[in-house]
Subunit: 125 residues, 2 copies
């Protein structure tokens, strides 16, 4: 799998809700940094963060608009849509960088977005 | 010039303060969208926005950490540092997409960042 295929597959697991397949693509020491927040380090911490964050989410529909790689560094431009359990859809414009290690695992994941926009999309009801 | 060279040269003009060379690299119909704000359309509107935005800025020091292209679409991960006239340095983590047209000009520029972080970096003093 090329680094770009790794990232598209990883996003596919989020979209199909196959979270165990998603975690299996991460290095044990993965660092997941939503830039406006503190970095999340390691798969155990990632599981905890996902559990909280996905509470109101019924399904993900993340669209990759652009993707390009320089060796193992993959850059993406996306709209991350979330179908919420209350029937609303939250949609967040995001860019993210994924660093793929020599085992083909995701070692670093950094997403850049506006926290205010995130809160407006997920808030209210 | 490859699309990646176009973007690194463009960022170089911001850093050297050669704003006329920077504008000359933009298509007349350029769309500059700082995602948390409204898009800015055309070079005349861009000049106006830059004049306002750069008021407190003495110099730019934008560092490109990662850059990759898919044809004419160039994705970047950066830290955009700004040396302010009051002596402080504002530093903003950013990802940006640049679309290069068939004339080699920048047709679209979209930057993703957290508006709250931008305001905290530029505010105070």
């Amino acid at each position: 799998m090329t680094p770009i295929e790794t990232v598209t597959t990883f996003v596919g697991h989020w979209n199909s809700g196959d979270m165990e397949a998603m975690y299996a693509m991460c290095a044990p020491t993965v660092v997941w940094h939503n830039i406006p927040m503190e970095p999340i380090k390691g798969v155990a911490a990632m599981r905890e963060a996902v559990a909280g964050f996905m509470g109101p989410v019924a399904a993900c529909d993340w669209q990759i608009h652009a993707i390009a790689a320089d060796d193992g560094v993959v850059l993406t431009e996306r709209t991350d849509a979330f179908h919420l359990k209350d029937g609303r859809i939250a949609a967040l414009p995001v860019m993210g960088t994924f660093e793929i290690d020599s085992d083909g695992k995701i070692a670093q994941w950094r997403d850049y977005f506006d926290m205010g926009q995130f809160q407006r999309e997920f808030g209210g009801g």
